[in-house]
């Protein structure tokens, strides 16, 4: 062995290949899309049942109904009370979770492989035969209302809500909170939930994803037994467009007197998952604000000590979500932090990334890819993404190649189209008496102080 020279970082050894687990895809006679990946390292299984019962299907007046319907599933089935259902799951050590997003609802199950058949039967009963008992629905609704009240006093939630409202045009679902408002959720009762589930809890355009120590043929048999009677299509999407609320840069200060920090969001409309620029933007955002050593974090945290951390992100959905920079900084450095964020965005657009940065970002994204696919739950989540966003079957298999194909030119070109600091809506939640005058002094756009939303 050669003597160790500590001044030089060790070279990497020989790289080992990583293969995304192959996905066996088949369609049950009822139309249910079944996707199975065998991963046998640990005796655990994860399943996701995804169906298109999302918040984007609802108008503002019914905002929060999809979330409430999903959360009320644990209230029991036609055969079991909520407590009996929970006991049946926990007796076999199973974890059942429901998460509702814009595109749909995902019911996930994880348990030891030896108990998976019992677990899947309980998942099916939960979704196909919900009981929605009056008292449990009222309880879930009151929990959702109380959660909204908590958000109204939480500075980070206030900032994200205000940024959404200022970024997207009225009528675009993404402009509002997924959980709805006190006014939209307050009147909801079991009939609303039952009606929504009857229409939208349908297998069409959804899927059942199973990952773990399982066999695809056996899964087909099990899924047929559990979901054999489940048919139908949810109503077609209402096909909304995503428009910005304005293209004029403005500063919105949400007054929260007594705040010792300011929550900052700098935001505008971004791109969809299917956008041809999605991969170049993923690389570009990594060097801008997607990693610890990104430009924004090195500036605001490591050089200036303004914050514990700052990140930027493109929320790529079925439709364009937002591009957003988010951070929390000391009250007295709020204006300098906003100035630095805008300066970094402008410098990136005008000067472009360096080839060293692009290379480092590609290596980072491609390298961490297998690190985030160690557990069956992580693999199931990625396969579910393919269903939700309609991604190609080879999307994950070719993901790293597509990242590595991004060049300095393609990243910069994408940045010039999709990073637009001149159109950003700047939201600051903090002590307005201190921060508003300082933000005025920056001269980056009209400053308006607004009261926190009341519902």
């Amino acid at each position: 062995m050669t003597p160790l020279d500590r001044s030089i970082p060790p070279e990497g050894g020989e790289i080992r290949d990583f293969v995304f687990p192959p996905v066996d895809r088949r369609t049950l006679p009822t139309g249910l899309d079944l996707r199975v990946a065998r991963v046998s390292r640990f005796p655990v299984v994860s399943a996701n049942l995804f169906f298109r019962a999302g918040e984007e299907a609802l108008s503002g007046g019914a905002a929060g109904l999809a979330v409430l319907t999903g959360d009320a599933l644990e209230g029991g089935t036609r055969r079991r009370s909520g407590t009996e259902l929970a006991e049946a799951l926990e007796r076999i050590g199973a974890r059942l979770g429901v998460s509702t997003g814009w595109e749909g609802t995902s019911v996930s199950l994880s348990c030891l492989a030896a108990r998976f058949d019992a677990g899947l039967a309980l998942l099916a009963e939960t979704v196909l035969a919900p009981g929605f008992p009056e008292a449990e629905v009222a309880r879930a609704r009151d929990q959702q209302l109380a959660g909204i009240r908590q958000g109204l006093m939480d500075p980070a939630s206030l900032a994200s809500d205000e940024a959404a409202r200022r970024t997207f045009a009225p009528g675009v679902p993404y402009a509002r909170r997924q959980e709805g408002t006190l006014a939209s959720v307050g009147p909801l009762g079991r009939d609303h939930l039952r009606g929504f589930a009857d229409g939208y809890y349908r297998p069409g355009r959804g899927a059942l994803v199973v990952v773990g120590d399982v066999d695809a043929d056996e899964m087909e048999e099990l899924a047929s037994a559990c979901f054999g009677a489940w048919t139908g299509e949810p109503p077609a999407s209402n096909g909304f467009g995503v428009e910005p609320r304005t293209r004029e840069r403005r500063v919105w200060v949400v007054d929260r007197p007594g705040s010792v920090q300011s929550e900052i969001r700098v935001s505008h409309v971004g791109v969809s998952r299917a956008d041809p620029d999605a991969f170049p933007l993923t690389v570009l955002n990594t060097l801008l604000g997607g990693a610890f050593t990104s430009r924004l974090n090195l500036n605001l945290r490591e050089r200036n000590g303004f914050t514990y951390g700052v990140r930027s992100r493109f929320s790529m959905r079925g439709r364009p979500g937002s591009f957003q920079v988010h951070t929390a900084v000391g009250t007295e450095v709020t204006a300098p932090a906003v100035r630095e964020i805008l300066a970094e965005l402008e410098a990136l657009v005008s000067g472009g990334p360096t080839s060293e940065e692009v290379e480092a970002s590609r290596d980072y994204i491609a390298g961490i890819f297998p690190l985030r696919l160690e557990s069956v739950g992580q693999v199931a989540a990625r396969i579910t993404d393919q269903v939700v966003y309609g991604l190609d079957d080879d999307y994950h298999a070719t993901y790293r190649d597509r990242i590595r194909a991004v060049t300095l030119e393609s990243a910069w070109e994408a940045g010039r189209s999709h990073v637009r600091p001149g159109e950003a809506q700047i939201v600051v939640v903090g002590a307005a008496a201190t921060v508003a005058p300082a933000l005025e002094g920056l001269g980056v756009g009209p400053v308006e102080v607004v009261a926190p939303a009341e519902d």
Partner: protein, 436 residues
Amino acid sequence: MPKSVGATPRGTPILSVPFEQRSLSNGLRVVLSHDPAVPVVAVNLWYGVGSRNEPEGRTGFAHLFEHMMFQGSLNVPKNRHFELVERAGGTLNATTWFDRTNYFETVPSHHLELALWLESDRMGWMLPAMDRDKLDNQRDVVKNEKLQRYDNQPYGDWSERLQRLVYPREHPYHHTVIGSMDDLDAATLDDVASFFRTYYVPDNAVLTVAGDFDPARVMDQVERYFGEIPPGGALPPIPGNPELEPLLGSTVRDDVVADVPLPRAIMAFRIPPYDDPGFTTAEVACAVLGTGRASRLYRRLVRERRAAKDVVSYAYPLLSGASMLLVWATGYPGASVTELEAALGEEMEGLADAAEEEVERAVAVLETDLVRSLEQVGERADLLSMFELFFSDPGRLNREVDQLRGVSASDVRRFAAERLGPANRAVVTYRPGGGS
């Protein structure tokens, strides 16, 4: 497919994480756990130092020091540690807690040596890279962390209030890990140097390498990077007095009126320390109370009585004197926090009639959660480091499930009767009001 339904019979082994224990001549303890299934390797270091080791006037220093460990070392300039690991396609972080501080990287396996080089350079040669600017910068970062996570949050001071009630003034858990702004301001470069020389020594650390590595070469690689770091001297005693009465002796309380959205009642109880066999009983009791939707607090307070919007239970695994079992319940708008506290207290005492099937369910859920956590190589490495540092026994990981299964309903009942009554209760309540 196996068609059996119901709990796995007792004694069925479901876990066998392979491991080997080694050590270097400088006292560094090494745990190796080989698993080539995914081309990923975790490098994980636990140092036997945490907030309990902080002297008077330096609360928060162990955590500030952890930040300084990322500011470079003799051969690694500022920011280079992060740059190199991210460039390699790896993830990294560190955390500070009461009894320990851990540092970890997970990297594609062909970059194992990079992680060993980075960790060894700062274990051996951190001080030459330290300067006042770096300390001032990270002091600002940490103060912003405190503002963001505690001071600017509704209920953000709950842990500070609770620790003061459960642990007396002279006990090392009386103060929080994040510490006070004044103490953070007081920290000096001399403090950094003396903390480093005292605690950041190979004989006060455990290194675990888990995942995909070459079993024939790995010890040579570890020796090459860590072997020449000199051992430290004797560790000073933990400041203050870690000895504690097992019970609080009465109900102690702190009633707060604050700008919070909903009423919340928080309770904590002294329980046996982590290295006492009684801790496992506390862990199971804690799961019977609050893990899952069939648990007692959820079923009774959230579902049936609709007294709480949410409930939480957690058993802190702590080593000095006594651990702490924590529960809280958040009430609905307008609810009386006094009634909420009374309802929570009733359920805690009510656990003295815990049934066998409740305990079996709780154990089944804990079992699944443990197996799931082990899917990630970083988590496996972290647990092996912990069991080696705290108990010199990484094999305890493979016995965890059996230990949990060994807890009976009568153990839980006895624990509840002894520990969860008003004679061992610390209470913090938050009532909305005041405003700003």
